[in-house]
């Protein structure tokens, strides 16, 4: 779902001018963002009330620290990216109506300066997420193919 939201965000902003397709993509993108946020909150609540499995033995302390930091960042971005997008929409004076049914409150009023700022924030948080996800995937592949410590199989149950 995050991938779909990212992809829509990527292509919809490349559509020049103002077309019905663009409006649809914007709406879908926002619905996805709201859904991701809600699921991320549930995921985080779970993570905070349940112990995460131990890291594999034989990982260097620095590696463990890096992994820990990356995971904290991933969780933070799952929450902050939808929030920044939501505020961007509010600042642009456009309310988010979830699935076209549930009107969600606009948290801030229309504000041109804030809108421009939030746009940049939203974009760069996404680039950060893209970089982190890339690192996360590469690290998981390294654990699987280089360290052969069974970490990837833990994330993907039927891999074994």
């Amino acid at each position: 779902m995050i991938v779909a939201g990212f992809y829509l965000g990527w292509i919809m902003t490349d559509i020049p001018g103002f077309t019905p397709t663009k409006l649809k993509y914007f709406s879908w993108h926002k619905w996805i963002g709201v859904t991701v946020f809600a699921l991320a909150v549930i995921r985080l609540a779970w993570r905070l009330t349940h112990r995460a499995p131990e890291m594999p033995l034989g990982m260097a302390p620095l590696q463990k620290l890096a992994a820990e930091a990356a995971h904290v960042m991933l969780y933070a971005l799952m929450l902050v990216i939808p929030i920044s997008g939501y505020l961007y929409s509010s600042a642009a004076g456009i309310q988010v109506v979830y699935l076209g049914i549930v009107p969600l409150p606009t948290l801030i009023g229309p504000d041109t300066a804030l809108k421009a700022m939030l746009r940049i924030v939203h974009i760069w948080l996404n680039y950060t997420l893209l970089a982190l996800v890339t690192v996360h995937v590469l690290a998981a592949l390294k654990h699987h193919f280089v360290d052969r410590d069974g970490l990837l199989a833990r994330m993907i149950p039927f891999l074994k």
Partner: protein, 186 residues
């Protein structure tokens, strides 16, 4: 025929036009607003017309004698984003170059109980005219009168949003025109 009679007629018409002018209320456009609210994928989107003029002549005691005329500069529609504004000024929407004004001219005003009145008239947008009746709430404060109302219209009846925009699943057919007109009696 330099007679007192002619002079009397002249004087009478002068007085009449003066008193007619006095009956006209001075519309304060800085305090008045005309908004059109559309729905995009069910998201209400407000836009305001920055430029318009209004001529009002209304006495709550004699509503039938009243009249209203609104002229709206379609190019002044502001959605809060210049790229969107440029789009709605274009041919698919207002075609402001061809049809710079949208107008409402009243034909009859009838009391509807209390401070409510029903104003009937002709609404013309993009060269298309429709007869409409809009409920208006009138409030009087000292010498200031305010007129509030909302009129739902179908944009398709006025060819607003042609081509790919005809699809009403993205931009709904119904658009609500809301107005708040403040006038000072001279």
């Amino acid at each position: 025929m330099k007679t007192p009679f002619l002079r009397w007629i002249l004087a009478a018409t002068t007085v009449a036009s003066l008193s007619l002018g006095a009956a006209h209320a001075q519309v304060d456009t800085s305090k008045s607003t005309v908004t059109a609210i559309s729905k995009q994928m069910n998201v209400p989107v407000d836009g305001t017309f920055k430029k318009f003029t209004a001529q009002l002549n209304f006495d709550p005691a004699k509503p039938a004698a009243g009249s209203a005329k609104l002229t709206i500069d379609t190019a002044s529609y502001d959605l809060g984003d210049e790229s969107y504004n440029a789009q709605v000024r274009g041919k698919d929407w207002f075609d402001a170059a061809q049809y710079p004004n949208a107008t409402f001219v009243s034909s009859a005003i009838a009391p509807a109980g209390g401070n409510q009145f029903k104003v009937s008239g002709t609404l013309t947008i993009k060269g298309k005219s429709e007869n409409v009746t809009v409920p208006v709430t009138v409030a009087q404060q000292g010498s200031t009168q305010s007129f509030d109302g909302a009129l739902p219209i179908k944009r398709s009846q006025f060819d607003i949003g042609t081509g790919e925009w005809k699809d009403t699943s993205v931009v709904a057919d119904e658009v609500v025109i809301k107005f708040h007109i403040v006038a000072n009696k001279k």
